[in-house]
Amino acid sequence: MTQDYNFAFIDEGSKKEIRRKILKAVAIPGYQVPFGSRELPIARGWGTGGIQITLSIIGPDDTLKVIDQGCDGSVNAVNIKRFINAVTGTKTTTDTTTATIIQTRHRIPEEKMTEEQILVLQVPFPEALRTVEPSEMETRRMHGEADYSRMWLYLYEDIVKFREISIGARYPVMVNKRYIMDPSPIPRWDIPKLHLAETLYLFGAGREKRIYAIPPYTPVEPLEFEDFKFRVEDFKEAVCMRCGSNDTFLDEIINDTTGRRTYFCSDTGHCDKVLEAKRGEGS
């Protein structure tokens, strides 16, 4: 496969264009930069925006980690990792701390990332305002004029109807006090990790042809009211059945036979590490 295709699959001219668009995105935090999204041998909607970013910035010396739902071993993560590895020959890892580039769908790793790392997020809906306005022409105008009243009204009406903001994942955030941004369908649990982070976050929407970014140390605030604060998911007293963590985002598993609910860490790389450390202590 590698012999027949250019390094990182995409031709150099296209990679250069994508890198230029990434730079523009970094220069305007939270602003969606249109780009000439290319088709990949993986279907649209399956992470092609993130993959295009990764392929455009990756070099032979990088170490790549790919997760889907926090998991390194899920079929989609494996498939993407296999593809990138086949066209670049780059090393892969499941360890958050040793990766230089992490591509992810729906999660930010539990372990703190550093300035030396880049997190690439796959984005299905780049437009946070799509919930209140279907037209792209109109949402671009709204961003241009920072006309966000309808979004605030939406949140307010939610509170009136449900006494709670009912948005689960994909919780809208204000980036650098200027643009409302869709953080991709990460849980609310991960939203605080975006604020003044050390790491560069790159967001790629392949089907919708948009790239946006949160550069390191950018203020990122979830939309909230003084009397109705943003809140992360509440797992009450639940702990991971496997590693015993009570400070991670958990997957709820329903037991086939008893119907009882149990919980496991969503971030499997982190779960492995905690478990290993505990075993080390025990021996």
Binding site: E39, P41, Q69, V75, R170, N255
Partner: protein
């Protein structure tokens, strides 16, 4: 226990891919040759080249074979292959007036300059299953071709040989000043080598220039274009088109020599072109005709006509129906995008679902319905 997918994902997808291949090859018949697909499933090849936006009958046939005939998958393979090819340059714009025509008809005039040429069409065939084909053989084919060529070589008296090119039917209307030019709704174009927008290099922004509109439709999914065009002509819209001219034929591909600038013909492509005429009342109240235009790779008349109708519909001054809304039409006709997104719902959404569960339980708790305590399962 139900804890899945931590390990074993790699093996699972490898086994799955092997099974997929097995499904395609398990029968006892001879393996399909690329040549057979290329020559005998021409319309399928044309459709995949169009939607895959890569003119290569050989690669399209390979994709069709590999995907076991799934047009969306095959087109996706072509598009993905396209990504690996560098953009060398742009070809010189060609006028379809110079087309080497194999078929051209007009529904607007009984007699047109150059005459109606039916060419190869299924329009007037009876769609009866031809059981003779069950006994298809090389011999019967050779005889068929021999008979056909004999008739062509000794034409009936009085028949003229076909001219090289044909005049365009709509020129008649243009000369009379009955045709409102579509150019009025052109938007500023970000320049490329040949002055037209390139949707493979820039993402669409709305309102989109007409060159972008036509490109997006040319690689749109045939069924998707048809649905939207049909909605308009059926009543959710106001286009009652007359096919001014429909032609199928070959256009040369010419590029400029990088040093001398001289045009060179590097090949030719088969295309279908449709010009739909629709009546409208201009601002001054005088009724005029307007033109909707469609052109796509290969022989695909449904697609070209649907394109022409949508092109015209999207020029409606005050769009009301979905088929008149440029952003709506252009954002939803791409088969590669829509199939990918539709398929992606099969991917795990555990995290977002967990997040939604949390919100729902919270809302339920607050409104006093039921108990939402974790693990209770009341």
């Amino acid at each position: 226990m139900g804890y899945v997918a931590v390990k074993g994902g790699t093996e699972a997808i490898e086994h799955s891919a092997r099974l997929l291949t097995y499904e395609r090859i398990k029968g006892n018949s001879e393996p399909l040759k690329i040549e057979q697909i290329k020559e005998q499933l021409v319309l399928l090849v044309d459709r995949v080249m169009g939607e895959g936006s890569l003119y290569s009958p050989g690669l399209a046939a390979l994709a069709i074979k590999q995907s076991a005939g799934d047009t969306l998958e095959a087109s996706l393979m072509l598009r993905a292959y396209r990504t690996t090819l560098p953009r060398i340059g742009y070809s010189i714009p060609e006028s379809a007036r110079e087309m080497r025509v194999i078929r051209r008809i007009s529904a607007a005039f009984k007699d047109i300059p150059g005459g109606q040429i039916l060419g190869p069409t299924s329009d007037y065939t009876l769609r009866l299953l031809d059981f003779e084909l069950l006994n298809d053989s090389k011999g019967t084919r050779e005889e068929y071709i021999k008979a056909l060529l004999k008739d062509i070589e000794s034409p009936a008296p009085g028949l003229q040989p076909l001219p090289e090119t044909f005049p365009k039917v709509i020129e008649v209307l243009r000369k009379e000043g009955l045709l409102e030019e579509s150019a009025g709704r052109q938007y500023p174009v970000v320049n490329n080598q040949n002055g037209s927008f390139d949707i493979t290099r820039q993402s669409l922004s709305f309102p989109a220039p007409r060159s972008a509109t036509l490109q997006a439709m040319a690689r749109g999914e045939t069924g998707g274009l048809l649905v939207l065009a049909y909605s308009n002509m059926r009543g959710y819209g106001d286009i009652h088109p007359v096919i001014g001219e429909l032609r199928v034929g070959f256009l040369p591909v010419r590029i400029r020599h990088p040093y001398t600038g001289e045009p060179y013909t590097v090949g030719e492509i088969k295309v279908t072109e449709a010009e739909a005429i629709a009546k409208f009342t201009g601002k001054e109240g005088t009724p005029k005709f307007t033109l909707g235009y469609g052109l796509c790779f290969g022989h695909n008349e449904i697609k070209a006509i649907s394109m022409a109708i949508l092109d015209r519909a999207m020029q409606t001054e005050e769009p009301k129906m979905v088929s008149e809304n440029q952003e709506f039409v252009l954002s939803h006709i791409d088969g590669i995008e829509s199939m990918g997104f539709c398929n992606h719902w099969k991917l795990p959404h555990y995290v977002t679902f967990q997040s939604d569960l949390d919100r729902l339980r919270k809302a339920k708790e607050k409104s006093g319905f039921g108990n939402s305590e974790a693990g209770a399962g009341k």
